[in-house]
C-alpha cells in the first residue's frame, strides 16, 4: 500500500500523519480493489484511495450523501452502518453528472423455499421486466461506515462497493424464479391431467379384463340354466305321466281285489304326494325361471356396458359418436349412484353422428351426472330428486342438457366452476378436477362449448354443444390444431 495510492482531500489539512495512514490504522482496507476513504466527524473527507477519490468525484451527490449519513450516525449513536445507495442515470446520455440519487427504501427479502420438481426444463425465454430497464439507468452501491477512535479523534471509515451487476443478477434470478414457479404450477396441472387420462386407460384395461373374466362363467351359467329348464320340464313330464298312470291304475283296481300290500302302497303314494311340495313347485317354477333369466340378462348387459364404456380405443381416438348412445351407456354405468336419489327423465331426439373421442365425452357426461346427484343429495333424505336429460341437434351442432333440481351453485362460486382444483365438496370427496377437465375436453379438444345456469336453492342445468364434424381420419389432426 504505497502512499501514491492515497489522496488527501485537498481542502483538508489534517493532523493525521502520513505514517498513520500507512500502518495498522487502515486495518479494514486490505486490497487495492477496495474503494476506501476516511471521514472526520463532521462528515468531511480526510483521505481516500484513488479509486474512492475517482468515484466520489464522478457525482456531486456522493459527498453530500455521505456527510448526511455520518451525521445521522452520530445523532443516533450508531457505530456502524451498512447502507445501499442508488444512483439513477439518464439512459440516453449516460452522463454521470446527470445521475440523481434515488430515495432508498430498504426491502426485506425472504427467499421462498420451493420443492424441486422432476421435470424437463423448457428453454427459458427471458421476459422483459422492469429491473432490466433500471439496469441501464441505475447504479447500486453498498456503503460500509464505521466509527473509529484514532488518537482521541473520532473518524469514520468508509468502504464502498459497487453492486449494480450483482443486484441486477439478483433481480433476474428473482424473476426467473417466479417464472419457474408459474411453469411448475402449469406442469403440475398438466401432469394431473395426464395421470387422470392414464388412470382412465388403466381402469379401461382393468374393466376389459374383468369383463372377460365374467363372460366365461356367465357363458356356461347362462347356457346351463337353459338346459336345466329343459331337464326340469323333462322330469316334470315324466312325473305327470307317472302320476296319471298311477291314478288310472288305482281307479281300475276293484277295492276288493287289492291286497293289503297294494292298499298300503296306494296309501303311501297318496301320502307322499300330499305331503310333497309338488304343487307349489309347479306353480312357482315359471316365475323362478323367469326371474333368474332376467337376472342373468341384466348381468350380461352391465358387463357389456362396462366393456363398451372402457374400450381402449374409445379413450384416445376420434370416432363416430352418437351422443344418445353415449348418454344411455353412461346412465347405465351411473345407475347405481343415481337410482336411490333421483329419477331420470329422458328427452332425446334423433341426433346425427359426429366425430369425437367417445370415452372422453362419456366421461364429461358422467361427471355432470355425478355432480347432479350430489347436488340432489344436499337437499336431504326425502327430497324427490329429478335429473332431466335432453338432446337436440341442428346442422351445425349436437346439443345436450342435463338438468337437476339439486341444491344449485352459489353465485359467488359460479365463476370458479371450471377452475382446476375448485371444489365445494369436503376434503377427500372430490379433487375438483372434474369440471376443469370437462371444460378442456369440450372446448379445447372438440371445439365445442360447455356452460351452465344455476340458482342456489333451485337447481342447475349444464349445457354442452359439440360441433358436427364429418372429417376423415387424415384431417382429424388438422382439426385438432384449430
Amino acid at each position: 500500500m504505497g502512499l501514491s495510492n492515497w489522496v488527501w482531500a485537498k481542502e483538508q489539512s489534517h493532523r493525521l500523519s502520513e505514517s498513520r495512514v500507512e500502518t495498522g490504522f487502515f486495518e479494514y482496507c486490505v486490497q487495492l480493489e477496495t474503494i476506501f476513504g476516511i471521514f472526520d466527524k463532521s462528515g468531511d473527507l480526510v483521505v481516500s484511495n484513488k479509486a474512492f477519490d475517482d468515484l466520489i468525484n464522478k457525482h456531486s451527490a456522493w459527498k453530500a450523501h455521505l456527510k448526511k449519513e455520518i451525521l445521522l450516525m452520530r445523532n443516533l449513536g450508531k457505530k456502524e452502518a451498512l447502507l445501499e445507495f442508488v444512483l439513477e442515470c439518464d439512459p440516453q446520455s449516460f452522463d454521470p453528472q446527470s445521475c440523481e440519487p434515488k430515495a432508498y427504501e430498504p426491502v426485506e427479502f425472504e427467499p421462498k423455499a420451493y420443492e424441486p420438481v422432476e421435470f424437463e426444463p423448457k428453454a427459458y425465454e427471458p421476459v422483459e421486466f422492469e429491473s432490466k430497464e433500471h439496469a441501464l439507468r441505475e447504479q447500486r452501491f453498498n456503503i460500509l461506515l464505521k466509527e473509529q477512535l484514532v488518537e482521541d479523534e473520532t473518524l469514520f471509515m468508509c468502504q464502498i462497493e459497487e453492486v449494480t451487476e450483482a443486484h441486477n443478477l439478483e433481480n433476474l434470478i428473482l424473476d426467473m424464479n417466479y417464472q419457474l414457479t408459474q411453469k411448475i404450477k402449469e406442469i403440475n396441472q398438466a401432469q394431473i391431467k395426464i395421470l387422470n387420462q392414464e388412470k382412465l386407460v388403466g381402469i379401461g384395461q382393468l374393466a376389459a379384463g374383468v369383463a372377460h373374466e365374467i363372460n366365461n362363467p356367465l357363458g356356461f351359467v347362462k347356457s346351463n340354466f337353459k338346459i336345466l329348464d329343459e331337464y326340469f320340464r323333462e322330469i316334470t313330464k315324466l312325473l305327470i305321466t307317472l302320476k296319471n298312470e298311477f291314478v288310472t291304475f288305482q281307479s281300475t283296481c276293484e277295492s276288493a281285489d287289492i291286497s293289503k300290500e297294494m292298499a298300503n302302497f296306494f296309501e303311501q303314494v297318496e301320502h307322499t304326494v300330499a305331503n310333497s311340495d309338488y304343487d307349489y313347485i309347479i306353480d312357482d317354477y315359471e316365475s323362478l325361471f323367469q326371474d333368474t333369466s332376467v337376472g342373468l340378462e341384466r348381468v350380461e348387459k352391465i358387463v357389456n356396458g362396462l366393456r363398451k364404456f372402457s374400450r381402449m380405443d374409445h379413450m384416445t381416438n376420434f370416432a363416430k359418436y352418437n351422443i344418445n348412445e353415449g348418454l344411455e351407456e353412461t346412465l347405465m354405468i351411473a345407475n347405481n349412484e343415481i337410482k336411490y336419489d333421483a329419477k331420470v327423465i329422458k328427452d332425446m331426439q334423433y341426433v346425427p353422428l359426429t366425430y369425437a373421442i367417445v370415452g372422453e365425452i362419456n366421461q364429461v357426461l358422467l361427471n355432470i351426472l355425478i355432480n347432479a346427484v350430489h347436488a340432489i343429495k344436499e337437499r336431504g333424505k326425502n327430497f324427490k330428486g329429478i335429473i332431466k336429460v335432453t338432446t337436440r341437434s341442428d346442422e351445425k351442432y349436437v346439443y345436450c342438457e342435463i338438468m337437476d333440481n339439486g341444491m344449485g351453485i352459489k353465485k359467488e362460486d359460479q365463476e370458479r366452476i371450471f377452475t382446476p382444483f375448485f371444489t365445494t365438496k369436503e376434503v377427500g370427496l372430490g379433487t375438483g378436477l372434474g369440471m376443469s377437465i370437462a371444460y378442456d375436453i369440450i372446448t379445447n379438444k372438440h371445439g365445442g362449448e360447455i356452460s351452465f345456469i344455476s340458482e342456489y336453492g333451485m337447481g342447475t342445468t349444464f349445457k354442452i354443444k359439440i360441433p358436427i364434424r364429418k372429417v376423415d381420419a387424415d384431417t382429424v389432426d388438422e382439426y385438432l390444431n384449430i
Partner: protein, 386 residues
C-alpha cells in the same frame, strides 16, 4: 353325420356345450387344449366344423386356428370368445382365420341355428362343386395372387408399411385400387395406399384388391365388367349411409365392403362364361331379380351362389358370404345376419333406382328392418342426382 370339434380350456364351458349339443344331428367332440384337439383330428377322417375359444392362457386360440387352416382348410372355423376386444377379433378377421364369431355368453338357440345355417350353406355350395371341372373355375380360385400374398404377409405380422410397399411395386394396380377405394368409400380422399389403409382399414383394402384382380383376369372382358364396378362402388356408399342411419353407429370394418362385393359373382361369371355371359346377361335390360332366373336357365347357376362360393373359398367372413348369397332374397330362412343382408338389398335397389318396382325382395327387406319407404327417402334423394 357332420362332425364338430369344440375346444376350450375351461371344462365348465365344454360340459355346457356338451349338454347343449347332446341330442342333435351332429357328432360332437370336445377338447380342452391344442394337444387334445390334434389327437381327435388325427383319429377322424374329417372334421366339418371347429368351434374354439380365442384367448386362452395356456395356448393361443389364434394359433390353433392357423394350424387347422393349414391342416384342414375345408373345415369351417368358428370362434367362441369371451374376450370380445377389438384387437383379438381384428386379428382373427384380418388373417381370415374364422368365418363366424360367437361371443360368450351365447344364446343356446342362436348358436345351434347359426351352425345349422352354416352347414346348409355348405350344402348349397355343393351344387357349384359340379362345375369344378370347368377350367376357368380353377383359374378363378387361384387367381388373386396379390390377395394371397397380402394374406400371407398379414399372417406373418408384417407392418402396414411393408405391405403397402409390396403392393406399390405394381403402379397400375395401385392406381386402380386407389381409384376403386376412393369411389367405394366416398369420404376417402386418399392419395396413397397407406392413407387408404389408415382410413378404410387393411381388411377392406384387401377385399378391394381381390375384387380388382378378379376383374382383370381377362383383358377383353374388363370393359364389360366396368358397369358392374360402378354399380358396386355406389352401392357401397349407399350402404354406408343406410347402415349408419339404421344403427346410429359406424360400419364395423368386418363388413366394410359389403356393398362393394355383393355382386362379385357377376364378375366371376363373366370371367368363366366370357362373352356368353356378357351378351346374354349383362347387356340385357332386366331387373336384378330377373337376372338370377336368366342365369340359371342359361348356365344352370346364378351369380349369388357363385359369389358366395368363391368368397367362402377365400375365407371371407360369414356376413359377407351371406350378403353375396342372399341379397336378392333377403327373406330366406337360412340367413343368420338378416338385417345386414336387408340393408345391402335396399342399397342395391336404391343404386339402380329400382325402388319404384316395389318387388317382393325390396318389400321383404323393408319388413325385416321394420322401416318404410319414407325412411329411405332422404338417402334416395341424395343419390338421385349423383
Amino acid at each position: 353325420m357332420r362332425k364338430i370339434l369344440f375346444i376350450d380350456d375351461e371344462a365348465n364351458i365344454l360340459r355346457s356345450l356338451k349338454r347343449l349339443f347332446r341330442n342333435l344331428e351332429y357328432e360332437c367332440y370336445y377338447a380342452d387344449g391344442i394337444n387334445e384337439a390334434i389327437k381327435i383330428y388325427l383319429s377322424l377322417d374329417f372334421i366339418d366344423m371347429l368351434v374354439t375359444d380365442i384367448k386362452m392362457p395356456n395356448f393361443d386360440g389364434i394359433r390353433l386356428l392357423k394350424v387347422f387352416k393349414e391342416a384342414s382348410p375345408r373345415t369351417i372355423r368358428v370362434a367362441l370368445s369371451g374376450y370380445a376386444s377389438v384387437d383379438s377379433i381384428t386379428e382373427a378377421v384380418s388373417k381370415n382365420l374364422a368365418k363366424q364369431y360367437f361371443y360368450k355368453p351365447w344364446n343356446n338357440d342362436e348358436i345351434i341355428s347359426s351352425i345349422r345355417k352354416m352347414f346348409s350353406l355348405e350344402d348349397e355350395f355343393e351344387q357349384v362343386d359340379l362345375f369344378d371341372k370347368v377350367q376357368n373355375f380353377e383359374n378363378v380360385k387361384t387367381l388373386p395372387r396379390l390377395f394371397d400374398r397380402i394374406n400371407m404377409l398379414i399372417q406373418k405380422d408384417k407392418s402396414i408399411e411393408e405391405i403397402c410397399v409390396i403392393i406399390e411395386e405394381d403402379l397400375a394396380i395401385t392406381s386402380n385400387i386407389l381409384r376403386l377405394a376412393n369411389s367405394a368409400f366416398y369420404q376417402a380422399k386418399t392419395g396413397n395406399l397407406q392413407q387408404a389403409v389408415m382410413y378404410i382399414g387393411l381388411n377392406n383394402l384387401k377385399q378391394i384388391i381381390l375384387s380388382y384382380e378378379i376383374s382383370q383376369m381377362k383383358e377383353a372382358l374388363i370393359k364389360s365388367g366396368e358397369s358392374i364396378w360402378k354399380h358396386a362402388a355406389r352401392t357401397n356408399n349407399i350402404f354406408y349411409d343406410l347402415y349408419e342411419k339404421y344403427y346410429k353407429k359406424k360400419v364395423p370394418s368386418i363388413v366394410g365392403t359389403a356393398g362393394l362385393i355383393h355382386d362379385i359373382g357377376k364378375i366371376i361369371m363373366l370371367q368363366i362364361f366370357e362373352n356368353a355371359y356378357s351378351t346374354e346377361v349383362l347387356q340385357q335390360d332386366i331387373s336384378d331379380g330377373q337376372i338370377t332366373v336368366l342365369e340359371r336357365s342359361l348356365f344352370k347357376i346364378d351369380h349369388a351362389v357363385v359369389g358366395g362360393y368363391f368368397l367362402n373359398w377365400w375365407a371371407f367372413p360369414m356376413e359377407l358370404i351371406e350378403v353375396c348369397m342372399y341379397h336378392h332374397r333377403p327373406l330366406d330362412e337360412h340367413i343368420i345376419h338378416k338385417e345386414l343382408v336387408a340393408i345391402v338389398t335396399l342399397s342395391t335397389f336404391i343404386e339402380k333406382k329400382e325402388y319404384e318396382i316395389l318387388g317382393s325382395s325390396f318389400l321383404g327387406a323393408l319388413d325385416i328392418l321394420k322401416i318404410d319407404l319414407d325412411y329411405l327417402k332422404p338417402i334416395i334423394e341424395k343419390y338421385e342426382n349423383e
